[in-house]
Symmetry: C2
């Protein structure tokens, strides 16, 4: 019988060309489909909740696939982790309704971006943070971050032009924790490079090159500019997908 | 003027053949000396407090070197980190008395060993823990660990034969923290593979293959056996060197 499986995944994106399958490149989706092929001897497409960029990490990426497998869920989870490389782990696996779709059923996604704001970065976190050793105006960054909470056309903060560029951001906040500035953002969905471009803009604010109030004008200009650079991938992590 | 510098180092040992310089191999000492060579155009030997094995990490390794450099300490620290790879960081640098010797002046060293005792390991810690998914008898492991606190010949727990194999262990304890079993040990010094062999023995106790009371007999047998296997390097970290 054909089952629909929902899986939740953690991965260290350092050694991957992102989520989406690409010829000749190691990607998370590609590696997952290669492993599933060993279980059923036919291609099983895996649909993810979002296409994380090359170098972006995930604590709670979600995905679904449909397969005819005779394993218990717990055994299948163990078997998948036994075949996957150590930098990709399936943290949960459940059979779900056949109408479930990892991308279309998602209610919201939460991303986190970590900025190490100290003189040097520990070797144990350097793969997961952007390093910025100079002072940053935390208060202005927090004020600017709050201005992203809205339903709006986010084209200013994306690299591609879409017919439907409106997204709804529920939560956009910055906290300082032990020398790290941590940005958390939750939205119905994100345009390409959207979180990294919002972070790049927040860094411009932190460096004093942009005032928080200028965010409003950026939304209106409706295109990218020097004020909206894209922050590096390695600081970004897909924390959670809500259904 | 010739100064004696004391440095404290953190490193992710994953990509190194240990601390000690070896021809044709990437080691932490070798990389440090290569970097210092750029500052003074002559070989500056770096003496470490301990020779960590291949794959072992350090949060607080200590070392010293003597050099004629015209940089402020803060500038030298920054310059060193600017030249070192990201998986080695100098976390402190101070000029010290010329009698200081990183190895001989050390009063004690603290090592930590992490065992992930869950079904699967997060991709973000897999480089720093040993994975053991089956049950372990924590209470027996704790009892056995306490029996290592003594001044004794530790040859049973080492791979080489020394003329002076007596070491004094001050502290040897196991705590459980969020699915990890964490072993911390402090001693005046350690024999080759000593911590990893003590951990291997504690794992035998945890698996029920050895009773805590048998530790006593192991000390007396004065040689390695099947009861004293060596645990993998990647779970081990040199936490701190005390002077």
């Amino acid at each position: 019988m054909l089952h629909t499986y929902k899986i939740v995944l953690s991965y260290d994106g350092t050694n991957y060309h992102g989520w989406q399958k690409q010829p000749q490149k190691k990607t998370v989706q590609g590696v997952l489909e290669d492993v599933l092929f060993r279980f059923q001897s036919q291609r099983i497409p895996v649909m993810g909740a979002g296409r994380t960029d090359a170098g972006v990490h995930a604590l709670g990426q979600a995905a679904h696939f449909r397969a005819r497998l005779n394993l218990d869920d717990a055994d299948l989870l163990r078997a998948l982790n036994g075949q996957l490389p150590q930098d990709i782990r399936v943290t949960s696996l459940t059979r779900t309704d056949k109408s479930f779709h990892a991308l279309r059923s998602a209610q919201s996604k939460i991303y986190q971006y970590r900025i190490c704001n100290q003189a040097s970065v520990s070797p144990f976190v350097v793969r997961y943070v952007l390093h910025w050793p100079l002072p940053l105006d935390l208060k202005n960054m927090q004020e600017a971050a709050s201005l992203f909470v809205r339903e709006a056309d986010f084209s200013t903060f994306s690299s591609n032009r879409l017919l439907h560029p409106v997204r709804r951001v529920f939560r956009s906040e910055i906290k300082k924790h032990k020398g790290e500035i941590i940005y958390t953002v939750e939205a119905t969905g994100f345009l390409k490079y959207m979180v990294r471009t919002m972070v790049g803009t927040l860094l411009e604010v932190g460096k004093g090159r942009l005032e928080p109030q200028e965010i409003e004008a950026l939304f209106k200009q409706n295109k990218r500019s020097l004020s909206t650079p894209t922050a590096p991938a390695k600081g970004l992590c897909l924390l959670q997908v809500n259904y």
